[in-house]
Each structure stands twice: as C-alpha cells, then as structure tokens.
C-alpha cells in the first residue's frame, strides 16, 4: 500500500511542479545555476568515463575476434553500436543517477531538514516549482552531455585501437560508418529525454518528502539512486522493445 501511496504522491508532485510558477526573473537564475551544477558540473566525469570505457569496449571486441575471416573494421562497428545504443544513454544515466541524483536528493533533503522548504511555503512560494522545475529544465540539456559521451566513447575506442595496435585508424573509421542507421541515434536521444525526466524527478521526490535528520538525508540519497536506476533499466527495456523491435 505504501508503494501505491508513494506512486500517487510522485505524480501529484509532478502536477504541482508545473503550477503557480515562480517569478521569471528568479526562475531564470535558478535554471542557470542548475545547468551549472547538473550539466556543466558533470562534463568532467562523463568525459573521463566515456573515453576509457570506449577504449575498453574496443579492446574487448578486438581480443574476442580471433577468426581471420571477420573483417577488422568490425571493431569500430561494434564499438559504435555499443556506445550509441546502450553505453552513452543508459549506462551513463545510471552513473548520473549516482552523481546528479544523490546531489539533488541531498540538497533538497537538507533544505527539508533545516526548514528551508517550510520557509518557502510560509512565504507563499510553490516550493516544488521553485526547487524541482529548474532541475527538470536544466536536465533537458542532458542529451548534450550524452552526445559528448557518444563522441568521446568512440574517440576513446579509436585511441585504444591505434595505440594498442588492434586495427588501423582507417579500419576503425570504416567500421564506425558501416551500416549506420540514423534512427539508432534518434532512439538513443528519445531514451535520454525520458531518463533526464527520471533523473530530475525521482531524486527530487526522495529529497522533498523525506522525514528525519541528517542520517535520513544519506538514506534518502541511497534510496533515490536505487529507484532511479531501477526505473532507468525498466524504461530502457520498454523503450527498446517499443522502438527497435
């Protein structure tokens, strides 16, 4: 029953988030701050992970091709498909659920514990619009992060290929252009927009409705990471089934 109540509260929170909008001059600054915190602040870790995971995918693929009849450009092809279809949109989103999600939960949760949310409510401000809406808008730039992840993942694969001697740059470049389906990129970005919505709202829900003190803020961050990851995986499955099968 408690889960049903939580689901209901989550959807009511989403409705409330769009009501009684905050003054635009204030909202503009909140959005810019959240873009800085959530998007710009994540670029470093996204770039680092994407580049090296791209490299590892390439090495693993190359090492598992031992049949001389399989062309070497397959390494580039497999890396591109892995990065564009799953690694960048899905795997990166789970990492972001840890980084961005726990930041959102802990910052909103701390505001709850220290009565800052009550202070907003007493002033007659719609605290959900004030706190959650700018995060949602900021995370609409999340596909930009994922496109950087795709680019760096493929670049990392190329670097590993060249420096590890697994195939030539020309083979790799042929591979990443082989059998390219533009809809796969569209599919990846549709997933990314859905995951961005989850990344903004599930951690906000866990922070906003938490009860207790500092210890509970930590617990709420962990819970929000778990549930954000669960819903990313579930929706990944559903979207893949709907869009690609």
């Amino acid at each position: 029953m408690l889960y049903l109540q939580d689901i209901g509260t989550y959807f009511l929170m989403i409705v409330e988030m769009f009501r009684k909008p905050t003054k635009w001059s204030v909202m503009k600054q909140l959005i810019l701050k959240d873009i800085d915190d959530l998007i710009i602040g994540s670029l470093g870790i996204v770039a680092f992970i994407s580049f090296f995971v791209g490299g590892v995918v390439t090495i693993q693929t190359a090492l598992n091709i031992d049949n001389p009849l399989i062309p070497r450009y397959l390494v580039g092809f497999a890396t591109r498909q892995s990065i564009v279809l799953e690694f960048a949109p899905t795997f990166m989103s789970i990492i972001m659920a840890g980084k961005v999600g726990s930041f959102i939960t802990s910052s909103i949760g701390t505001m709850r514990v220290t009565e800052q949310i009550d202070a907003l409510e007493v002033m007659g401000i719609n605290s959900l619009n004030y706190l959650v809406f700018p995060k949602y808008i900021a995370l609409m730039l999340y596909p930009f992060v994922i496109s950087i992840s795709m680019f760096l993942g493929i670049l990392g694969g190329m670097a590993a290929c060249v420096f590890g001697g697994f195939s030539s740059p020309d083979d790799y470049l042929i591979g990443i252009q082989t059998d390219f389906t533009p809809f796969h990129v569209t599919y990846a970005f549709i997933k990314t927009f859905v995951f961005a919505f989850l990344l903004a709202t599930i951690p906000s829900f866990h922070g906003y409705y938490m009860k207790g003190g500092a210890l509970e803020v930590g617990k709420a961050s962990t819970t929000s990471f778990v549930w954000t990851s669960v819903f990313i995986i579930l929706l990944n499955y559903l979207l893949t089934q709907m869009l690609l099968s």
Binding site: K20, E115, M123, G124
Partner: protein, 255 residues
C-alpha cells in the same frame, strides 16, 4: 489581530490540539509557552497554514484562512514573516541575498530600491557590513538576526517566531528578545512567539498563552503570571529555585 477558535489537530490517533481558542493582538508580543510536547509547534504550524487542522478556525484580521482562495492565501502569506527555530536561511545565498529574497519574489522594486531596503533592515538588526557573508560563516545570534531581517524586510503584518532564543547565550537571547519587541512596537505587527525561555516570558510577554497537553491551560501577561495560582503554570514557570525566589520577592514587594 489573529483570532483562533476551537482549533483541533490530530496525527493519526494522537489528538495534539484539543480545542484552542485565543486571540493575538496587533502591536503586542504574544508568547505561546508550554512544555515540550504540549503542542506549541503544531499550533504555530497550523497558524502558518503548514498543517491542515480538522476543525476550528483561524482568522487574520477577520479573514478566515481556511475559506480563502489559493490566491488569497498566497497574498496573505506574503504578509507573514517567520523566524524559524534553526533560522532556515538559504545556504546557497549570502546574507544580503537571503534578506532580499522576499523582495525579489513579491515586489516590483528596482535593484537599487531593494539594496536600500536590505541595507536599512540589516542596519536595523545591527548587521551592517555582513552583506556578503554566507550563513555558514555567521554565528547563531547573527543567523537569528538575519532571519528577523528577512522576516521584516517586506513590512509584514504578522510575525511568527519559533523559539527564537534556542541555542543562544543569555546576552544574545536578550538582544533578540528586545529586537523582536522593538520591531513589533515600531511597525505595529501582530507577533506570535513560541518559547519556553523564562527570561523571554518575563521580559517581553505582553500576552502569554500557556498550553498543556494540547489545551489552553492559562492566558495572561508577564504582569499577571506572578500572581497566578494556576498550578500547571506555576509548576512550569517557577520550576527553578531562582524563579521561585524572584516570584516571592515580586509578590512581597507588590503586596
């Protein structure tokens, strides 16, 4: 003036407020006192509209809160200033930005007008030069004064303070008490203070409402509290030997 009539509030099976009726006068510091768990904070949160209550009514200068439309409730809230127990300053903003926040949200003032008003209220709470500090860099007493400055910056008609002295040294506590009383008198605000600080009760309790087990057990002022024979009040207020002696001396002097 705030009028409360037969206010009831429960959490599940726990009946916290059991029919409180009282009034809080304009231009006076009204204190709500009582032991921990007596329902003070729940009462204050009902007054602020943070908790919904089951029955009864709260009216602000004749406007019954529960019957107001959402827009009217929002407009009324813009006339309320609140000092929270832990100050509730926004961590991500400087002291000046915290104080300016209600102006940015509810007024159409120009930047220079807002800066002038912030300078004025920060000076009023003796915090000139603290504009650019972050709340984490300010002491407890400073944070309380910033919270008071933020609460009064938009000229509220009603000021609520939840234990404004908690965690402060006696000297700073008196400064905060005097500041609240001066501001109440100066701007003719209806001020309601939750407290169990006996110095505050004696110093600024122009009206005192004593809650016990969710009921109003006594009502009076810092003048009449010395003479009351209500056992609940005397047990609570004069629980220390020092206050017992103070009361005895007061009664002897005034007989």
């Amino acid at each position: 003036m705030i009028e409360v009539n037969d206010l009831h509030k429960s959490f599940g099976d726990a009946h916290i407020l059991k029919g409180i009726t009282t009034t809080f006068d304009k231009g006076k510091t009204n204190l709500v006192i009582g032991q921990s768990g007596s329902g003070k904070t729940v009462f204050l949160k009902c007054l602020l509209g943070l908790f919904n209550y089951e029955s009864g009514s709260i009216s602000y200068d004749g406007k019954i809160f529960s019957k107001l439309s959402e827009d009217d409730k929002r407009n009324l809230r813009a006339e309320i200033g609140m000092v929270f127990q832990g100050s509730a300053l926004f961590d991500s903003m400087t002291i000046a930005e915290n104080v300016m926040f209600p102006l940015r949200m509810f007024t159409k003032q120009s930047k220079s007008e807002m800066h002038d008003r912030v300078d004025f209220v920060l000076k009023r709470v003796n915090l000139e030069g603290a504009h650019h500090k972050m709340p984490s860099e300010a002491s407890g007493g400073m944070q309380k004064r910033v919270a008071i400055a933020r609460a009064i910056v938009n000229n509220p008609k009603y000021l609520f303070c939840d234990e404004p002295n908690s965690g402060l040294d006696p000297k700073t506590a008196i400064v905060i008490d005097n500041l609240i009383q001066e501001i109440t008198d100066e701007y003719q605000i209806t001020t309601v203070i939750n407290s169990h600080d006996m110095n505050s009760v004696m110093e600024i309790g122009e009206k005192i409402v004593f809650l016990k087990d969710g009921l109003k057990a006594w009502e009076g002022s810092n003048k009449t509290i010395f003479r009351t024979d209500n056992k609940s009040v005397t047990d609570f207020v004069y629980s220390s030997n020092l206050f017992k002696k103070v009361r005895k001396m007061y009664l002897e002097e005034n007989e």
